[in-house]
Symmetry: D2
Subunit: 258 residues, 4 copies
């Protein structure tokens, strides 16, 4: 399986993860370690809480996992830029996952504000990984303003609906000159494998790991699924078709024996 | 991952495979070895050809792989029973994959003839693994006549359409007291993972491996996918739902910092 | 829209209906009349109840609707044949919808018993309309024993899941020389329209009409949907494809105006 | 079926149509008349050609059909605003369908430019009907800047893939306070019926009518499908569920007769 490079950083694992919704810090750490993920996103809120930070961040950093602060909760470009700057200071990293969602019900991202914030953050020297709807034109424009990857959603965040936006993801993958990371909605290893099979460069999974009855084992399951999907993509999959290839009936063969 | 037991035989791998459609015997052997499959089905025609047998069977048997003769090409119960008896003699095994398909175009199985042949073969001491449509009532009746497992199809053989018959497969899995092996139509690792996630005990994959540009690597991909799907099933998957859980907006948090 | 002929009987409407699950006899009659259905199936139980019969059957017969007794509740071929004979006597019709479902949970049909009963009933002079799983081989065999049509299911009865068995229905439609009527699972007018678009000759709808808040208006909705789907089938639908046809950009045109 | 009101204009038909891709002006007029559509969109290019205008526009206007100029071909907000102003002059209407698609391959709309142009056009007194990706946040913002409806796509234009963006369309319909018109990708009457069943206020169909072998009959098919879907929506559809309601077996009934 080939490595993935984003902004000069090489990843052996194509499974990115998050820190939300776990029942405990221990469950989270065991799940992330089992997943062999090398990039873990976390929200500004988590960074701020001094005590929790010790529980969460240290074990991850000791595993050599790269931390990716996100702007989750921001409702405008302005809020997101402010959050990104706070995060840079707190975690000493230029990397940021840009999330802007004014909609409290479905947490759907705001494309226009994201584009505006991405442009501003790139100018400030950030490595901007934007979380967006599966919108091919928006992804192209984010690439043009300097994002080193795009992160279109598979389906509504937390929905476990998989690749509901598949035809649009396929357009994005075909047209993009930067890595495409499918984020949100991936609810099962089969979804992650499918994402890789259609040519995504990586996936980001959080809810499916965090809410599993056994998060560590689910981490392992997603590890294998991403590897399976990527290997299949690199191995060349067959086409779907309804008709079986006719084989000669056994009758003749049995007749030949008689 | 727990082991699978069929008729007293224990399998560590839940990936069953076949021998058809490979470009060469070498491609087949390398694919099957990489897949770590422990049960490989092959048609009577293959067994018969003396020279080919040496090329195909020996390397597999040396790997400790169990061979499963099938009755592919049989169009009636009578032909299938005859083919099973020839296979028992040739391969010295009581195991047989029962396939009866009078339809040369789509190779769809004949349920009534399969039920009839299964009953006859069980009485003759065979371990009968019947390939059938995803028909819950038929699967129940095959279990009742003594089949130690059932093999409903995911979608038309060779179609790579995945689990087209999913709601019916879910009924079969719920109702069956013998292992359920999803056979036919599994075209990608994501399909195999999904089959395991919904609770299948194993999958049988052939075309997807044989027609891959790199069959050995595809064998490895399916190995991981089956493992991923089974681990996920055992770890407890989350529910699908459209609405995200609302999180408190970042605004308040940012406000608190000001 | 061309007419449909089954066993010499001509139908202007390709929407067949049932009598189960309605809140009242009045709701049922208004729904069936609005649907313009010309064939309505009813179970033996209904026929037997003298008083109910007057309420239900008379208004339908006065509308010129043909009544089709069914063997719903039968669990074996023997029970079904007995039920068909009782129905013939009670309703003075040779037509029978053959339903055999030993499974009380999902009411899935038993293919082998249905084939057996169909053969027996055809010999006794019945016009046999068999309700079966979407099994292409079974449908072919039912045609061969003399059924004037086949009735494969779209999805589990009462599930409103639409054409879950679509690839198998398409095979049946392609191969059948008798009319194909899609029965069970059709939950919305869009499902009925789709059934007609893929080439079904008719649909049978019951639950979706009976459980609607406004059964009469839903009857009208299905009437139009079946007509829409059939007209579309006869008009020739376009192919699905992902890529838009490029059009020349407006820029040149606007430039030409400048 | 209730009427639809947009910007004070009442429509009896919820089927909107277009003028592209027809083999001839005659085929177009016969199809549109049969569809009973009351709103037909056409591109600026068509308006400009004097002779063609006579062929196309007069027969439509004589039928009382409202013409809706569109900005198809525009690649930026600036081009779209210019095109809208030309169209207003040519057709003497404030109504405009706003389309901005810089992507020549898939004709996917540009959300940020569309939002910008919509705001400008509303200020200039236009009735702006924006064609956009199925982006819930964007649709909300278009509503906020004064659009009297939104037109999210079902699937890529010309793809005939139906409601590929369904979960996002359902969010838009739930959240919108202006009518939602599903535009692009509707390839068959069943797609149009489904759009109405999930609560869309109208659909816009073009390719499916224009490329049919019999465009007039296909126009009629869509007319009925839209009516069927709307009536079903207003009648209250049942829920999807896998399990049938158990009925008492016929055995007891037959036993009671013995």
């Amino acid at each position: 399986m080939s490595a993935l490079i984003i902004a000069g950083h090489e990843f052996q694992s194509r499974l990115f993860t998050g820190t939300g919704k776990y029942a405990s810090a221990e469950a989270m750490v065991s799940s992330l370690v089992a997943s062999q993920s090398e990039l873990v996103t976390l929200s500004l809120r988590r960074m701020d809480l001094k005590h929790q930070t010790d529980n969460i961040l240290k074990p991850l950093q000791q595993q050599g996992i790269k931390l990716l602060p996100n702007t989750s909760g921001a409702r405008t470009a302005k809020e997101a830029v402010f959050a990104a700057e706070l995060a840079r200071e707190a975690l000493e990293t230029d990397w940021v996952k840009l999330e802007i969602h004014p909609d409290p019900r479905y947490l759907m991202p705001d494309g226009a504000e994201t584009l505006f914030a991405a442009e501003a953050l790139v100018k400030k020297g950030f490595v901007v990984m934007p979380y967006v709807h599966a919108d091919p034109v928006l992804c192209k424009r984010l690439e043009e303003v300097g994002c080193p990857c795009v992160m279109p959603l598979g389906s509504p965040i937390g929905s476990n609906m998989g690749l509901a936006s598949r035809p649009f993801l396929e357009m994005i993958i075909e047209q993009s000159r930067v890595p495409v990371i499918i984020d949100a909605g991936i609810g099962a290893p089969s979804d992650a494998a499918l994402a890789m099979e259609i040519g995504a460069d990586a996936v980001l999974v959080n809810t499916a790991l965090a809410v599993a009855k056994n998060p560590a084992q689910m981490g392992e399951a997603f590890r294998w699924a991403v590897q399976a999907g990527r290997l299949a993509f690199e191995s060349g999959l067959g086409e779907k078709r309804i008709q079986a290839k006719a084989t000669s009936p056994l009758t003749e063969f049995l007749g030949g024996l008689a």
